[in-house]
Amino acid sequence: MADEKENIGEKKYKYSIIIPTYNERLNIAIIVYLIFNHLRDVDFEIIVVDDGSPDGTQDIVKQLQQLYGEDRILLRARAKKLGLGTAYIHGLKYATGDFVVIMDADLSHHPKYLPSFIKKQLETDASIVTGTRYVKDGGVHGWNLMRKLTSRGANVLAQTLLWPGVSDLTGSFRLYKKLVLEDVISSCVSKGYVFQMEMIVRASRKGYQIEEVPITFVDRVFGTSKLGGSEIVEYLKGLVYLLLTT
């Protein structure tokens, strides 16, 4: 807990946390609560980019704004589901922080790691701090053997082909210097998790300093198969694309 207070130092930085949402009416409330719990001495804003969720996510965000303040929670919605990359770009337009954090809304990314991202960045002056699930203090819960196998196989293949310099390529829990995010995102064209890979590989190629912090990832949509044959083909195509164009 002392860490969370000592990280401010001489200059006080502001952090913009962009959370794309689609049908996350309960999770977004919990995530906002947890963020406020774990970033007590930090100047931050949360930017919720909701893609027209039919379950009323935006109504919940408005209630949260009443509770926490409209200056702390920004609702910047879009009319329909338009994809992750454009959601970040959209959220970036309204971000007033020095740093931007991107994270998922489904509670697989726990806000309790936010202080460690911030601390790592302040210690190393890194341009990007990325969360990694695959190191000793990190981990995943909710994956069966098959899922772990494909994850590991995909990772080894990507490491061999791309030499990316990070251990977790498809992770999407990251802190960026705002200018770095703007620079990298403008050159990325992929979709889905290949987009996350493209971001980190392009950043690495551009010479930005990237540091990692361990995170734990609790997959609560376990059972919903996110890895069919078409996913694997898409992944391989993404790898070849990154191999040839970065």
């Binding site: 309960l26 919990i30 947890l34 209630q63 819960h141 080894v156 190629r205 609790v218 970065t246």
Partner: protein, 89 residues
């Protein structure tokens, strides 16, 4: 320099070395011809080994799921007491 150019340069350098070995005949030619196959097979075995080791050492965190449940309960209690609707649908 693009990454793929780096890899191709590496392959060209290794191929040049292999051709030089063939011509110099320091190692018997019959062995030299097979070197690329040895190399590819070794690479494949190394890859499988890394996958296997990674799988065995795959970090898991069952405790985190429990902690998350506590956090969710705590959050729901606080939020519903402060005017935020916490129903799932």
């Amino acid at each position: 320099m693009k990454h793929v150019v780096k890899i191709l340069s590496l392959l060209v350098a290794v191929s040049a070395f292999w051709i030089a070995l063939l011509q110099a005949a320091i190692i018997p030619r019959s062995h030299t011809w097979l070197l690329p196959i040895y190399f590819v097979v070794s690479l494949g075995c190394y890859g499988l080994l890394m996958v296997g080791i990674g799988l065995m050492q795959f970090p898991t965190c069952p405790r985190e799921a429990v902690l998350l449940q506590h956090d969710i309960t705590e959050a729901k209690d606080f939020l519903s007491a402060n005017g935020v609707d916490v129903r799932s649908d």
